[in-house]
Symmetry: D2
Subunit: 158 residues, 4 copies
């Protein structure tokens, strides 16, 4: 299983008054990485073999977020070099994808994991607003990135 | 078990290019509701019996978000009247709280649930950066809001 | 000349790592106030006599921001009570409005001005993407709020 | 006079419900460019000769924004390649800098200017919260970027 590695630059405005990247903004970084990895763009099939989705406003497919789960392992401070969002697919459903992430940065020369997360995306036909099946070309492009769902450290009993 | 009901006004900027409140901004609404409900302010003990935490920058306690889980049931459009974030406590640990939420709004005269979520907060001593135990006064103030953890509709097998 | 007074609640996330409402977020507060004051909503003609614009995505008119000028007089800290954005119209052009603002809050029982600003809005026909003339009904509703442009403290020679 | 050219990646979340980079978020792009250009970082004196300011929370200097002026020439849509914020200094005061900007992107192979802006920054001693004079080393580093203030297209009579 291969991981997608998407560099995402922080912004100073991602910090909150505690001086750390705000817990909500961390999900913004995941959104940026997801768009880079899955939404169609000119370099797709080369640098970004997974970037097939003709999504975004006006496009035939919308990607709705149905569910997210996120674990903050370490506080993330501001840095100029981008963090690297490592991504893979934990599950390929009929019309949905579970995207798994580890947000990493280099500290003292070592790869450190700051965040683990998972997002369930549903592909929606923009015209009918109903879920649409994952196409064969998409399934083929995404299968090499299919792996075990991200292992969360703890999960409440609920 | 009593629920806290915190009205949170939307902002137009919460909308993304799809015209819905962005999935990330929904967590911003939860953050606002949490601060209103738990951080100390002058009206605490009266309108906000739970608002005891002397948190925020410069205060003796920091509240770190350790984990979040969120389910988006329906897309949320812009409206002028605030949404109501209903909150309760799903678990009171030694130094942590599981805050549960339903984000609701009135549609056609009925209460509709748009989002279900849960956040694990850890109370941290600002001086030592280590978890600190929930004080007896806090436990007493929060206990009436202790209930079953929020029931998520689906959760991946992982 | 009458001023519109729009209360706008702060969010904790408006603070940056300096612990003040971030200079960019101040413009967000102005945007919120402007939408409340000028975009059509059910209570228009009563509480909000100026709120006539059928704007927003999908509406016949878009309001484009052509220009902004803002002066930060005092740093604005977090507070639970909304700030009050006082607004009036500094100029009514053929297809444009200059909206003037003072962002105020109460400190020690006194009204304090934190920010002065001015925005030039252009009304655009959503179908043709060209400026459209201010209608007579709009002009009539807005004229009572027409006054002197906001007096900036300093302006570079440029 | 030399211009600083700072590439700033857009985020999808910079778009508002109109599908353009929101007018407020444009100022966020300026903030990012300013921090890259002026705040001290390891590569300063080489790639970033101007990046001398030991600013940011906890640092001896705070940079307060006293004033901003911005003109939106063309709507800016989402693009994957960064926009280039071209910057220079319009005025070097005793304790203040006027930073001038043109936000540019390449369209059909040509450099297009989308935004013109100017920010007055005041250097503040973090300990005393009072303006502090620009140091000689700073003045020397910044002087090559000193030029005519940005020419705005229109400015209200007020």
């Amino acid at each position: 299983m291969t991981r997608l590695r998407v560099p995402v630059p922080l912004r100073w405005a991602d910090l909150d008054a505690y001086g750390h990247v705000n817990n909500v903004e961390v999900l913004r970084l995941l959104e940026e990485a997801r768009i880079a990895a899955f939404w169609r763009h000119p370099e797709a099939h080369e640098a970004w073999p997974t970037a097939l989705l003709d999504a975004g406003p006006g496009a035939p497919t919308h990607t709705l977020v149905a569910r997210q789960e996120i674990e903050y392992l370490l506080p993330l401070g501001y840095r100029r070099e981008p963090v690297v969002v490592e991504m893979w697919i934990g599950h390929l459903g009929g019309a949905s994808i579970d995207v798994c992430y580890e947000v990493t940065a280099t500290a003292d020369g070592e790869r450190v994991v700051y965040v683990r997360a998972q997002t369930t995306l549903v592909l929606v036909d923009a015209a009918t607003a109903r879920p649409r099946r994952i196409a064969e070309a998409e399934r083929t492009a995404w299968r090499p990135y299919l792996g075990e769902p991200v292992a969360m450290r703890r999960r409440p009993a609920g």
